[in-house]
């Protein structure tokens, strides 16, 4: 059930709105770096531009935090807002006057599948693109899922060590890892199925958003 699935995110956003310091630290340590990487991968690795885009995203999204309903994860919601800013950037750059039909604040889980522009499935087979796909999938997850998977498979930490870092018991850590693996596989599979886009545009193709070059 989507609403129960993201109830934790709804509570988290509620704490952010209440200016809860702990929630803010969790946001800046988890969501913010993921959002930055999400933007950077879609801007040819331009870090300065990614910073500016994420800044615009925060200025647009935060006043609307109260509209977040938990239909999708909070990370998905942020990435959708960010994708709009990226699209607007490329529209300005290209001088396009096309309109975006995407509904900024009503999204579904599928719309997270926003990969780098102009890539077809053949290019994806190359290592760099596959790594980007993996990182995209990780960054689409709740931050603690991505962190737990990195600790487990890249840092080779034990379940006990991961449990200590997450401040949970070992059983809870194992359960979280299981959920994280499944969530990662689902996200990766969605990204891998993504249709190739029309050229010259940053926004993903999906049934809700079309950007004409």
């Amino acid at each position: 059930m989507p609403k129960r699935k993201h109830a934790r995110d709804r509570r988290f956003v509620s704490r952010l709105i209440d200016a809860d310091e702990a929630a803010f630290e969790e946001f800046t340590n988890g969501h913010l770096p993921q959002l930055y990487r999400f933007a950077q991968r879609r801007l040819d690795g331009d870090g300065d531009l990614a910073r500016d885009i994420v800044q615009s995203t925060l200025c647009k999204a935060f006043p609307k935090l109260s509209t977040y309903r938990g239909d999708a994860s909070f990370m998905t919601w942020l990435c959708a807002c960010c994708r709009n800013e990226i699209a607007a950037h490329f529209r300005r750059k290209q001088g396009s006057t096309s309109e975006v039909t995407f509904s900024e604040w009503e999204i579904d889980v599928e719309s997270i599948a926003g990969s780098s522009r102009g890539e077809g499935p053949d290019e994806r087979l190359q290592r760099g693109e596959r790594a980007a796909l993996v990182h995209d999938a990780l960054d689409s997850l709740p931050p603690r899922y991505g962190r737990a998977l990195s600790w487990k498979y890249l840092d080779e930490l034990s379940v006990m060590q991961i449990a200590a870092r997450l401040d949970v018991g070992p059983k809870a850590a194992e359960s979280l890892l299981t959920r994280a693996r499944q969530a990662f596989r689902d996200a990766y599979a969605r990204l891998d199925r993504q249709e190739p886009r029309s050229s010259g545009s940053a926004a993903p193709t999906n049934r809700k958003m079309v950007l004409e070059p």
Binding site: L32, S56, F62, Y153
Partner: protein, 345 residues
Amino acid sequence: MNHTRKDSVSQSQAEDDVRRLLIQAGPRPDVPAAHLASLKTIARTELLKLAHRAPAKGRPRMALPLLAAAVLVLAIGATLFWVGSSAPPAPRVATVELIRGDVWLEQADDVFVLGGSLAAGTELVTGSGSGGTPDLVAVRLVGGQSVRVDRGSRLRLADAERLELVRGAVYVDSGSADRGLEIVTRFGSVIDVGTQFEVRLPDDGDKPLVVRVRRGAVSLSSESRRPVAASAGEELAVTTEGNIERSPLSSTDPVWRWILAAAPGFAIEGRTLGEFLDWVENETGWSVEFSPPETADRSVAIELHGTIEGLPPDQAVDAVLPGCGLDYDLTDGVLSIGPATIGGG
């Protein structure tokens, strides 16, 4: 097939798939610290705007100062006891730490003296420096921030978290203060959380507002512009057309020199050399190193005696280090300290 074993095989396969993908992809790239600091400042600014509109729910809140509650209590108390003709006294918001040259107060009834307190609404005005005097002043806000005002300036202490720069320049060192400070100008506002920065309104040129950040990050905003963040080592200049130009700025650039002259003094009597060098580093932007490194172990605990009153930090090292049997070399912002050579260099 046993249902449990089939589940175990697919679980195992699933884990192997995930492991392989993650190892092949490698770790996600780190976000540059300066970019993260800028974005954190923006996020905090935007969330604090929400918090000020929403009712509190009892959790520990972000950077909402206890002083706000204290001021509220003071205001309520003052209202109860001052019913009638007298207006409640304005809260004390700063203490004077340094006065050099031609400096005076306006919109204030306080006696302007070193160590004296200043009320909200006070305007600090410094002379132009044309008489050969430094015309500088430094105050410490009740929140702990050090505020220094350059010559030719007018700064209003609106309250403990908001200063209004009418002309000239102000430098802020937030130190370990746990609350933000807003510097308001007619060209925009600068908000900081834990920073060393300067806000300047140049009299000439085509850039009426310049913000320079030495440490930490600030957010520059106005009604007509979305917030723009600046990080350590950056200068933002707002042009007369309203554009923002960003350029790098070293922490040891000569533009920072005036703040050394306005630095409140450091009493060395009974303090250690390590504490003195921390103060020098913080004020000058230099990096302090010991060569050879083991010199540090012998030196940082040396207890100092005497006074360096009247000496700015960059000149105080000349007074202190020889007395500790040390010499130094300053190159490219690095203060390298080592044992003094016999007979001098």
